[in-house]
């Protein structure tokens, strides 16, 4: 049976119907049409679906839409402001941190959370932080490079 769910997504108040079993990622993709958040697995391993919930990175396949009632959600679509890319998006572009692009939204959302915690993460810290995000294209080399390059500006970004 559907219930009404209200939350703030990318700064806008939204209300939609969801079944109690509806995952946040399904609510975002299917109800709100925010298809930038991807689904790459069914065991909460790949991290393609990472979004921010009240500013903290979460896997949106591992939380129910109804659990997000009244909360603030930020997705990849909500990062760029007034036509200006978020510094972490810019860093991925500058450092060739993506190839097919499918894991990229989750990588960027995860990286921004790391940068909030530490504006100068070392390579080991970045690699360990990314333990929950799988990429099959880049071999991680340029993702790690992108995150290290973009962390300070991302940390300082007021958006």
């Amino acid at each position: 049976m559907d219930v009404n769910v209200s939350m703030t997504v990318n700064g806008k108040k939204v209300t939609g119907k969801a079944e109690p079993r509806t995952l946040l990622v399904q609510f975002l993709r299917e109800t709100l049409g925010l298809t930038g958040t991807h689904v790459g697995c069914d065991t909460s391993q790949c991290g393609a679906c990472v979004v921010h919930l009240d500013g903290v990175s979460v896997k949106s396949c591992t939380i129910l839409a109804v659990q997000c009632e009244g909360k603030k959600v930020t997705t990849i679509e909500g990062l760029a402001k007034n036509g200006k890319l978020h510094p972490m998006q810019q860093a991925f572009h500058e450092n060739h941190g993506l190839q097919c692009g499918f894991c990229t939204p989750g990588m960027i959302m995860s990286a921004i959370d790391l940068a909030k915690r530490n504006p100068k993460p070392g390579e080991t810290e970045v690699r360990e932080w990314l333990e929950g995000n799988i990429c099959r294209c880049t071999g991680y080399h340029n993702i790690v490079k992108s995150i290290m390059a973009g962390a300070q500006a991302s940390h300082d970004w007021k958006g």
């Binding site: 991807h38 692009g101 390579e123 880049t138 991680y140 080399h141 993702i143």
Partner: protein
């Protein structure tokens, strides 16, 4: 030369949509009134289907239809095909038993397609699939690669006695045996080349539509080669005539080979869409990807190398049993034969080689091309043998290689296994790699590690690959059913910008950037004015798609040819405008000029004139658009040396890659940033094979490693950053001198890593560890060696 020219690290055009969440991957869209498909898959590796009872499923709210293999066959939909016929030792063609898109009477692997349920919602379709009652009579399964074709095994197909698809050979057996008989040294290895699951992060998906008004089908699918999909679905499976089927591959989230093939799901979706009169959408869950995406590798091999007393290679002899899975996939027969044994010469002047391969059916997921496809397996054979030979002869691995390399002045070089290498500089690539890896400092690093109780090892891999697939006549002569040329249309628009329609397809390879660099350079227009269109049979000329590192060497060659035709036509138009003979017109930097004068007209003006031909040559057609097809004269041969340094903790068996250096010759590099990215990604797939990724079936054929909880994908903390360099020995066989870079990492890395592991473990008496060299395997091998030494 501009900042966007060939050779520059131009940032990618395609990035903006991907970093802002605006990509168009297949699951991101749908069609009005669409149904969702869920497949009923076999839970058994081998069973007879006694009865399929749909009644309960049809009562599930929202379920619209349940369709089975009998109905599919009843509608005369053909079975899936394998497009490459391998002829065995006795000249007979391989056995290609029927491969129905939905099983008829029998299932042959866990995940085999039994029925499809169509629902108003995905949840309804899934609930319906759960409710389909299938009565199976289970049969004994055959799973083990090495013994599948031995007497007394359960039989998969009546058409293939002893589960043998083919028994194939290449090379001169008598001469090879004779060389072994007279050799001063021989080395013999037996190993498994482990089965891998490709795991593109975007799961496969399809949306099929049928327009009853005009009889047209449209298929959106996650494909590396939409035209090939259309051809096969039309000509062989019989979904629709080719002109009534449009195939669109939008943004595709990685392929690595697994999205080349024509699978049951899209076939069934097309058929079902017509049958129920509504669009049908299917998206794989990851667990379905594990079960149903074609897997890679899975060889059991015995390999021998014969050497003279100076370490010169005399002969190589290889036997491989290759697991093809339950059915032949689209190109599967060719992978362990013509893409494998033909590379066994490697970079060396081995005078005689003999290889025979038994391709076997088992009750497992079909096996086909996965990044590198046959060439990683060949490189593993050659480079493991070379490294073991070096240890046996007490020569340094680089010295033994140096003594046997084909030298730069010996090209073109014909190997004893078909190929003719066009060019290369193997010693130089190795020299550069030795520097990049700081090999001179290794002894000190090893001693230092030893003080900490750790084992260090160094492993080389001097690989070669045949890319730029492929010269059509050669492919045909070897049994391939298609031509492997490529196509492009270069269209100047009246306002002077350029749209390029290509037959290749990018799913991470960055063609929208690199192709535009080449076109902008060749036509002298700004990079930003060039748009690359791919992935839609209605918008692009017929092309064979992207795999086998072919897009630059074959696809871009077609683009260059089309651009050159544009220039030739432009000379005629410019000659008319400038009142000169076309023969006196030269083209440079976007301008047509009368030779020796300052009379000129730029290409945008010429384009406008071609579309608004008020003042125009009488004998010339209007328009400024040219199409070209390029059929390569030969394969291209990227080659290089990768050097891996590992440190093993003997207490835990964990292997850490502490240093990895690669020097590759890809011919002319168009965009070094993108080339390096391709190498990084390939290396990690190779590292995954060597250390992490094991596909495990139990004796009953259940896939035990069927999720990311069980199958160890390489993650960021499993690998280091890499040192990557290139040398450029341009290929003389295509306009740009390119060779292809997409697979090198995956081809070179398994051997480099495993040579390093074996080098490290030699110090503690271990002579063999299989891939993936997991901590448990390494630790067990060390313990076993210690026990043996204690005796």
């Amino acid at each position: 030369m501009t900042d966007m020219s060939i050779g520059r690290a131009v940032k990618r055009t395609e990035d903006l949509r991907f970093i802002t969440g605006k990509g168009h991957y297949l699951d991101d869209f749908g069609r009005p009134h669409q149904l969702y498909a869920a497949f009923v898959r076999s839970p058994h590796a081998h069973a007879e289907i006694r009865k399929i009872n749909k009644a309960k499923a049809l009562k599930v709210p929202g379920v619209v239809a349940v369709l089975t293999g009998d109905e599919l066959a009843g509608d005369k939909i053909g079975t899936l095909i394998c497009g490459w016929v391998i002829k065995g030792k006795d000249g007979s063609p391989h056995k290609a038993p029927p491969h129905p898109a939905l099983a008829v009477k029998k299932v042959r692997y866990v995940g085999d397609h039994v029925a499809v349920v169509l629902g108003e919602t995905l949840a309804a379709a899934k609930d319906g699939a759960e409710a389909v009652d299938v009565d199976y009579k289970t049969l004994p399964a055959v799973v083990d690669t090495a013994t599948a074709h031995k007497a007394g095994q359960p039989q998969l197909h009546a058409e293939a006695p002893n589960n043998l698809c083919y028994d194939w050979e290449l090379g001169d057996k008598a001469k090879t045996d004779a060389a072994f008989a007279g050799a001063a040294h021989t080395v013999k290895l037996q190993f498994v080349n482990n089965r891998l699951v490709p795991n593109a992060i975007e799961p496969r998906a399809a949306i099929a539509e049928y327009d009853a008004g005009n009889g047209e089908f449209t298929l959106h699918t996650t494909s590396q080669n939409p035209h090939v999909a259309r051809l096969v679905l039309s000509a062989f499976i019989g979904i629709a005539p080719e002109h009534k089927l449009r195939v669109i591959a939008p943004d595709v989230g990685g392929g690595f080979g697994s999205k080349i093939f024509i699978y049951p799901e899209e076939t069934v979706a097309l058929w079902a869409a017509k049958k129920v009169g509504r669009p049908v959408k299917w998206t794989a869950e990851r667990s379905e990807s594990f079960l149903s995406d074609a897997h890679g590798r899975d060889h059991v091999t015995t390999a021998e190398l014969a050497l003279d007393k100076e370490g010169k290679f005399l002969a190589m002899r290889v036997n491989t049993v290759a697991n093809l899975g339950a059915y032949l996939s689209t190109f599967s027969s060719a992978i362990p034969t013509y893409l494998y044994a033909t590379l066994l010469a490697g970079q060396y002047k081995t005078p005689v080689i003999y290889c025979d391969v038994q391709g076997v059916f088992t009750n497992t997921t079909p096996v086909d091309a996965y990044r590198g496809a046959g060439r990683p397996e060949a490189t593993f054979v050659v480079e493991r043998l070379v490294e073991e030979a070096a240890a046996k002869l007490k020569l340094s691995p680089d010295e033994l290689r140096r003594r046997n390399f084909v030298q730069p002045n010996e090209f073109p070089y014909t190997t004893p296994v078909i190929h003719q290498y066009d060019c290369g500089d193997f010693p130089r690539a190795m020299r550069e790699a030795l520097k990049l890896a700081d090999v001179p400092g290794f002894a000190q690093r090893k001693a230092e590690a030893k003080k900490r109780g750790k084992l260090r090892g160094l492993g080389y891999s001097s690989y070669i690959e045949a890319c730029g697939i492929a010269p059509s006549a050669a492919v045909g002569a070897l049994g391939g059913g298609v031509g492997l040329w490529e196509s492009a249309t270069v269209r100047f628009n009246p306002t002077g910008n350029v749209t390029v329609h290509v037959g290749t397809h990018a799913h991470g390879q960055s063609h929208e950037t690199t192709y535009a660099q080449v076109v902008a350079d060749r036509l002298g227009v700004p990079f930003e004015s060039v748009e690359i269109v791919h992935g839609d049979t209605a918008k692009t000329p017929f092309g064979m798609g992207t795999y086998g590192s072919r897009s630059a060497a074959v696809g871009l060659s077609a683009v260059c040819k089309a651009a050159d035709k544009i220039i030739e036509k432009g000379k005629k138009i410019a000659g008319h405008l400038l009142e000169a003979s076309p023969h006196d017109i030269e083209f440079r930097d976007g301008k047509f000029r009368v030779v020796g004068t300052d009379k000129e007209v730029n290409i945008a003006q010429v384009a406008f004139t071609a579309y608004v031909p008020h003042n125009y040559p009488k004998d010339l057609e209007p328009g400024f658009e040219e199409t070209a097809f390029f059929d390569p004269l030969n394969f291209s041969f990227p080659a290089g040396t990768h050097i891996c340094e590992v440190e093993i903790d003997p207490e835990t068996g964990t292997t850490e890659i502490v240093n990895y250096a690669a020097v590759d010759d890809f011919g002319k590099v168009i965009n070094p940033m993108i080339v390096e990215g391709q190498v990084h990604g390939g290396i990690v797939q190779g590292v995954g094979q060597a250390l992490l990724e094991g596909t495990v079936y139990d004796a009953e054929g259940q896939l035990e490693s069927g999720s990311y909880m069980d199958y160890t994908m390489p993650r960021a903390d499993n690998v280091p950053s890499f040192k990557v360099g290139t040398i450029e020995v341009p290929s003389p066989l295509n306009p740009l001198g390119v060779k292809g870079c997409g697979e090198a990492g995956a081809i070179a890395a398994p051997a480099a890593v495993m040579n390093a592991v074996h080098d490290a473990l030699r110090a503690v008496g271990v002579d063999k560890v299989e891939m993936p060299a997991t901590p448990h395997r390494v630790w067990s091998a060390i313990r076993k060696a210690k026990k043996k030494a204690a005796k």
